[in-house]
Structures are given as C-alpha cells and as structure tokens.
Point group: C2
Chain length 421, copies 2
C-alpha cells in the first residue's frame, strides 16, 4: 500500500529496457531497438534523444555498403557510451582480492588479483585494506575515479545484506567484517555485498536468458558446496542474504564432519576435502582442515576414478547419493525448472551421476521431479566476476541512469564526453 | 526486455492500492485514503471519482457527531460496493468440496460443504461434478451469476499450475484431474488452482501484513505435512506450482514409510498417521493407510503426552527431532525471517519443542539460523478459505478492476447498481 506508482516509473523502466538491449546487442538501429524492446518509435526517439544529450549513448554511422538504390541518410546505429560510467567488481576469497573494472558497455577493461593475509584479516584491519586496494586499482586504471558508480563485492561464506557485513567466511580470521559502510564512506558509488555463488545465477541469466530465467538453482561443487537461487525471474538471497546455503543443509543427522563444525552437512560428502578424506580412508570425523587438498584434488580424483580406483569410485558413488538426496530436498521445496551443477568439482560428476539419479528417484515421489532438467556446466572462474558485472549493470540501468532522464538534463559538468560520430 | 511499461500501468497500480486500502479499512475519508496510500489528493479524487461512476465504490455520509465549530460539508466516507463483484473459493479435500462466496468487500456471504466420493473421483467424472456443484451453489446464493469474477480452487496434493490440473491428491482416486479448463469453459470468471497449504500464507499476509510479509514459510502439521512460501513479498509456488512440499523432503534415507510410497519423508515422522504408528508400536514400514487415525488423533496424543505416556512422549520427541532437521534444511535454503507452525497437529508441538530446538541447533551452524523467529499459530480451518478469498481479491484488484478505469467508463449495462448515499 506504500508503493506509489508515478510517471517516472514508466520512464525509468523504458530507459532501463533500452540500455539493456543496447548492452546485449552492442549496436542497433532505432528500428531494430523498437522491435527488440516493443517500444513505439516515438518512445524510442524521445528516450534515445535524451540519452544522446546525456552522453549515455553515442550515434555511429554504419559502414555497411549502401544498396545501389538506397536513398536518404546513411543508416545510423546507436551504441552505449562506454565512458558514461564504470563499475568495479570485487571477489574476496582465501588470501586474494580479485578486482575487475568494466565500462558502461559491460566490457572489462582491467582486472587485478592482489594477495592479502586471510589469517590476519578481521573487522578492524580489513575494511581499510579493501578501500586502499580498490583506490589503487582505480587510480592505476585509465578511468576517472568519479565515473565509478557501482562497487559490487562478492565473498565466500555467509553475508548479511541487512548490515552489509561478512558474517563468517573462510577468507577471514575474524567475524562480522563490515564491507558496505566503509566502501560507501570512501567512494561516491552504490556499494553492495553478496555471497559469491549467488552471482553465478546472474552470470548465467545474462549469458543465456532463454535457458536461465524463471526459476532455477545453481549448485557449485568446489572447496565447499554453494548455491544460487533465481526464483520467478529474480535473484533470491533470503531475508538477510544468507539463503541458498545448500552445502550446510543436513544430509545425515550426526554424519560426516563439516568445515562449519556441524555433522552431516551435504558439503561434508561433496566438497574437495570430503572426497579426499573418504577416498584416502580417513575417518569421517577427521578435521577438514587436516585433509591435504590441493588445487588439483578434483582432477586427481576424476583421473583415479577413470583408472578404476575402487576407493575413489566408492567415494564418488557415496557423494552422488548425497547429492541426489540434497537435490531431492531442494526440488521438494523450490520446484525449479532447472538445476545447474558447476564448480571445480564437476569433473567428478560423471562418476557420481548414476548414484545421484538413483538417489533422486529413491528420495522423491516422481510427481515432484518430473519437470526438472539438470545441466552440468563446466566451471569457469570468470562466472563470479561476470555475475558481479552483470548485476552492477542491472543496478545502474534501473537506478541512476534510469532516473537521469526524468530531470531532462544533467548538469554539463556531470556529462560524460560525447563521441557522436 | 519484453515488458513494456505504459500509462495504464500506473493507473492500474494506483487503483489497486486504493481498492486494497478500502477493503482493509472498511470505510475511509478521502484525506485518510491519501495518507494511507501516499497518493496525492488529485490522484485520489480522480481515481475515486471514476470508481464511483463505475460503481466499484460508494459514498457514505459519516454519522459521527460534527464538532460544534466545524463548518462546510459533512465528512464523506468512501467504501467498496459489495455488489460490484463476487468471488468463489473452493477447497477440495477427501470426500468434501467446501464452497464460499464473498462479495467485493471480501465478506463471505454464504458457504456450503458438499460431499463427493473420493474413491470414484477421476479425471473423467470430477470436472463435470465440480462445475455442477459450483453452479448450484451460486444459483442458491442471492448473487447474479454474472457477478462472479474469480473462482479460486485449492486442493490437497500436488497441482500443476502450468496445465491447471491436480496431478495427484489423496482427495482423488484418479490422477491428472483437469480443473482450470473445465471451469473456464463453464463460467465467465478468471479461474485458478493452487495447493491448499499455499493459501495459508495469503491468509496470514492479509490478516497481519506487519508480521507476515517479506520472506516467511508456513509449515502445516496435519494428516500430511504441507508448506506455503512467501518470498520477497510474493506467494511462491515454483516453476509448475509444486513447490513448498516440505512434507516430502527426505529426512532419513531409507527411513519410515510415507503415504507417497517413498521412505524417510518428513511427513512419515510428523503426520497424524506417523505419530500414531510410532506411538502404538507399529513398524515404521507399516502402510499409512492401515494406521487407524481419527479426527481426534492429535488431541488424543497430546492428552496422553500430558499424562506422561512414555511411548507417546518418545514418539513426539522423535517427531520434534525430525521437524528440527527439516526446518534446519529449509533455513539453509530459504533464510526466512519467520517460520509459522500450524495445522491440527500444533497441539502436540509443546511436547516436540525441546527436541526440535536441539535438532535445529545440531543441524545448522548458528550463523544460518540467528535471524529466524518461529511462531506457533493455532490451527484455524478457515485459513485456507480466507487465503483463497484474499488471493481472489488481490487478483480482482490487480486485474479487471485495475484495468476498468483505463477505458474511462464501462458500458452502463455492465455497471453494478449504485448505492451512493
């Protein structure tokens, strides 16, 4: 009852639709923009004219050869002005900060990985360190620091979107690390914090919206087991941002020891340490920190499974069974049309698949799983970074640049340089 | 990119907001309506003037005593015109069809329970029976059949919102019972089908929006274990309408036999048959259909627990543990701010509570459950009916009556009788 609709809202929505279409297609003629967005020629003309004035888009003369009999003006294309804004995506993981800077077209123009000491990172030391690293990164890039309008941070572990803190993460020694407030104090940008796996849903939705829309879940099998949920066409993060932690949904009460300290979590059967612990015959209550995983643990296990190693095959069968039960519980609650399995661990999925399918059938009545499709998507380190950028772009389009047109003109000092051809 | 915003949209939204405010408050002065909806006086005047013309609302002279020095016109109040539309809510359960008819104010003016034979109800026989029963019910009521604009059907079991069928339900002998298509053919109303427990979320949201908004889950402990999900301020039903089936989310692989035929479902530890089976020492693979439950099973068990019956106390402790694990898995995935326990079984919850709380703590790391509150809400048979009516009203407000004003005037033959005081 408190949501008041007004004329700005239509305008914002139409502007956002046009920006998204141009970002996806690169460059478009007005007539094609009209077809793609289903907006009227008058609306397209009015909005793109404002956007040209504001410097959000640029006109480009098409260099396609003119048909011999074509008359009139050369076909003019529109494209986003990359210089109109920048966004920074920051991924925090154990001992490293990954930074990426994208321009308004979504193109990543520079990126950098800087180390930090997880063992010493706590709520007092880390915020200032993060601000300094972002500041240096932006200063070393070619862009005007004032053009940075969105900073999106994704972290391993549990975040709280209501306080803007990382509640707990393997990437930090301390707890409750403030992120959003220190960044907002230091930069004149919109700053957001998310769990890293959540960003995979955004990356998939951006790259293939026909396949990854509606209601789908992503399960990432890796050093832990993460999840992202896209429900009714929106990223869903729960009441406090802690949703989609399927890795810590219990599989067997009192079961294998998880890195979180609880017993029987799905992660304790599927993550790299869990597989290696089982395959090497260690007891299931062995401290995960004492299991000697490496960056190649999944590949090594897949190789040994391929060579017929019985201990590894049994481990992967047990893991597949745990995964099947975990998916069955997820399906019963969410009824997704698609589940995506990804992460560094997907190379082991072929050896889990039969047990997973059998467990799914054992665990859940057919009527509750008849509609779902399971995709196995090779892991791509870039998913989280691309998801951060895709989300930042959506926020820009729906936020400041959607609103800009309602005041008709921005002051000229805030206007990016025009490059109209 | 295909969602085109237009001026109608603002108008629809504002009309819907005003209709909801009037339904909630009963009658309001224009000035109070402005405060409650945050719409401008000009918008309120324009929209309510249209609505008066269309017969959706009526003006009432306030009979409150005028202050001695008050001047000008008597304070005029606005209220919904009950005769503007009717909605029918239909609840299908084992052997009975519950019908309710509400007017445009949301007041239920008549209701009826008619029996049918679950054992003989299949996809061929039931649709015609349902149409006939609804037709008789409306004919016997005082309302014009043409005024029925929404028919909402809620059923036990698994529904498919994409096909409008009941896929499977204990209320039917057959499978895939078509509901939406036959109703649409027979009535000139908008017809919808939902799982019955989903409607509880709508009833709670309508009755106490301050408490039941945002992201919350309802778990109904009854003849089965149902769930409703309200996520990011919307009823969530999944890709095909089958979401929120926590009762069939597995608790223990290979565990107790569930009515669905699978083993270890949460329902097989919590539903009436599950508790009675365990309390009477029957094996956990005893066919649920052979457990002699009655309408008083939960009360009987609660009474025996209160009297210190060891077998019942052990059963409820085990059930509480299963419930705690089930909630922990739900919290890990959804991160709700609130979970509501309800259903005929809540009278047994006091005897489950300690085990439930301990299991929740065992199963889930504290960071993933710190924000949730658990409400135990006494079961009210009327929840599902009220949820059906609340949902039908929201659909009316957002649908036909939100759109009506955009054509400025409806033809007078379609205009309900005006009762302007």
């Amino acid at each position: 009852m408190t949501k008041k609709a007004d004329k700005d809202q239509i305008r914002r929505q139409n502007r956002s639709i046009i920006l998204q279409a141009l970002r996806r297609e690169g460059q478009m003629a007005r007539i094609d923009l009209g077809r793609a967005t289903r907006l009227s020629p008058a609306t397209i003309t009015a909005i793109t004219s404002d956007m040209l004035d504001e410097g959000l888009i640029v006109g480009i003369e098409a260099d396609e050869p003119k048909a011999p009999l074509a008359r009139g003006r050369p076909r003019s294309l529109l494209a986003l002005n990359g210089a109109a804004a920048s966004v920074v995506g920051v991924r925090l993981s154990v001992n490293s900060i990954d930074l990426a800077l994208a321009d308004f077209t979504g193109r990543i123009s520079c990126s950098r990985r800087v180390p930090f000491d997880t063992a010493r990172a706590d709520r007092d030391s880390f915020p200032a360190l993060l601000v300094a690293r972002i500041r240096e990164f932006v200063a070393d890039s070619a862009v005007d620091p004032a053009s940075v309008r969105e900073i999106g941070v994704a972290s391993q572990g549990i975040v709280d979107t209501t306080t803007g803190e990382i509640v707990w993460s393997p990437a930090f020694a301390g707890r409750h690390i403030p992120i959003v407030a220190p960044l907002c104090d230091a930069f004149s940008a919109d700053c957001t914090l998310s769990n890293d796996t959540n960003m995979i849903t955004e990356a998939l939705h951006w790259s293939e919206p026909g396949r990854y829309s509606g209601t789908f879940a992503v399960v990432m099998i890796d050093y832990g087991v993460g999840m992202g949920l896209f429900l009714d066409d929106h990223l869903f993060v729960g009441a406090t941002g802690a949703a989609a932690e399927i890795g810590h949904a219990n599989h067997i009460p009192g079961g294998a020891l998880c890195r979180c300290g609880r017993r029987g979590c799905l992660e304790a059967y599927l993550a790299d340490y869990a597989l290696l612990r089982s395959a090497t015959g260690l007891a299931e209550d062995t401290d995960p920190a004492r299991v000697p995983v490496t960056g190649r643990t999944f590949e090594d296990l897949a190789q040994r499974a391929g060579a017929g190693d019985r201990a590894v095959l049994d481990t992967l069968e047990r893991a597949g069974r745990a995964l099947g039960y975990g998916l069955a519980r997820l399906l019963a609650v969410i009824d997704p049309q698609r589940v995506v399995l990804t992460g560094a661990g997907v190379c082991t999925v072929p050896y889990m698949r039969a047990a997973m399918d059998a467990a799914l059938e054992d665990a859940l009545v057919e009527d509750l799983r008849r509609a779902v499709e399971i995709d196995v998507v090779p892991w791509n380190e870039d998913f989280i970074r691309r998801g951060l950028i895709a989300r930042a772009m959506r926020r820009l389009d729906r936020g400041i640049f959607a609103a800009a047109g309602s005041s008709r003109r921005r002051p000229s000092d805030a206007r990016p340089q025009r490059r109209t051809a």
